[in-house]
C-alpha cells in the first residue's frame, strides 16, 4: 500500500509541477486534471470513498471542462502558444 501511495504521490507532484512549468495553457489544464485524478486515488486509499468520488466527478471532470471552456473563450486554446501570458516575473 505504501508503494501505491508513493507512486501516486509522485505522479501528482509531477503533474502539479507541470501545471506551474508548462507554457501551454492547454497542457496545464490537462495536467491539473491529472492532479485531481491522482488525488482521488489517494482519497480512495485513505478510505474516503465519498470524497474520492466527489474529487473524480467534480475536480477531475467538471473543473477541467470549465477551465478548458474558459481557455477557448479567452483565446488560449492552442497547443503551443500563449498570447499575453508572459509568465516571466
Amino acid at each position: 500500500m505504501i508503494w501505491l501511495v508513493l507512486v501516486t504521490m509522485a505522479v501528482m507532484l509531477a503533474a502539479a509541477l507541470a501545471v506551474i512549468g508548462l507554457r501551454s495553457y492547454l497542457a496545464a489544464v490537462a495536467a491539473i486534471s491529472v492532479v485531481s485524478l491522482a488525488l482521488s486515488v489517494l482519497f480512495a486509499i485513505l478510505r474516503a470513498p465519498d470524497v474520492a468520488l466527489a474529487e473524480a466527478a467534480v475536480g477531475a471532470g467538471l473543473s477541467g471542462v470549465l477551465l478548458a471552456l474558459t481557455l477557448r473563450r479567452v483565446g488560449l486554446w492552442t497547443p503551443a502558444a500563449d498570447d499575453d501570458g508572459e509568465d516571466r516575473p
Partner: protein, 156 residues
C-alpha cells in the same frame, strides 16, 4: 505496520505541503490571471489532501456500514467528519472556480489582455485614478502581483 503507517503519514503530509507551496507559487509569481486561477486550484487540492489525511486511522475501515448493519460489527471507522468537510470544500471549490473563470472571461473581453499589470495600467488610465498609486502598482519591482490581480478582478 506502524513503521509503514508512519511513513505513509509523512509522505501524505509532505505531498500536501508541496501542493500548497506550488499552488501559492502559482498564485504569487505569474502575471497572467489564468495562471493565478490554476494556482488556486492546486492550493485547494493540497488543503483537501491534508484534511483527509488528518482524519485517517491506520486500523479502521471506510465509514460505510456493510452487511450486519450495526456499528459494533463494523469495528473502528475512519473519522467521517473531516471527510464531510472536504466534500463540502470540493463542491464550494468548483463554485469559486466558476466565478473566478467568469471574471477572467469578462476581463479578457473588457481589456483584451489577461496580464495583471497591463489591466491595472489601463484601469488607471480609464478611471483617472491616482497615477502615483497605480503607476507604483504597475511598475515598482516590489509590487505584489496578487494585489494587482485583485484590482483587475474588480473590473466591471
Amino acid at each position: 505496520m506502524t513503521m509503514d503507517a508512519e511513513m505513509l503519514g509523512k509522505a501524505l503530509y509532505a505531498g500536501a505541503v508541496c501542493l500548497v507551496l506550488l499552488g501559492l507559487y502559482g498564485m504569487v509569481v505569474p502575471r497572467n490571471l489564468m495562471r493565478i486561477v490554476l494556482g488556486l486550484v492546486l492550493l485547494e487540492s493540497g488543503v483537501n489532501l491534508f484534511l483527509v489525511a488528518a482524519g485517517f486511522r491506520a486500523d479502521a475501515a471506510a465509514p460505510i456500514l456493510t452487511a450486519p448493519f450495526t456499528a459494533q460489527a463494523a469495528g473502528p471507522l475512519v473519522d467521517p467528519v473531516p471527510q464531510a468537510l472536504v466534500l463540502t470544500a470540493i463542491v464550494i471549490g468548483v463554485g469559486v472556480l466558476a466565478l473566478g473563470l467568469a471574471l477572467v472571461v469578462r476581463v479578457k473581453e473588457a481589456y483584451g489582455t489577461l496580464d495583471t499589470h497591463a489591466v491595472a495600467n489601463r484601469m488607471a488610465r480609464e478611471t483617472g485614478a491616482d497615477p502615483a498609486v497605480t503607476a507604483a502598482g504597475a511598475r515598482t519591482p516590489g509590487a505584489l502581483p496578487v494585489a494587482a490581480g485583485r484590482t483587475a478582478e474588480d473590473a466591471p
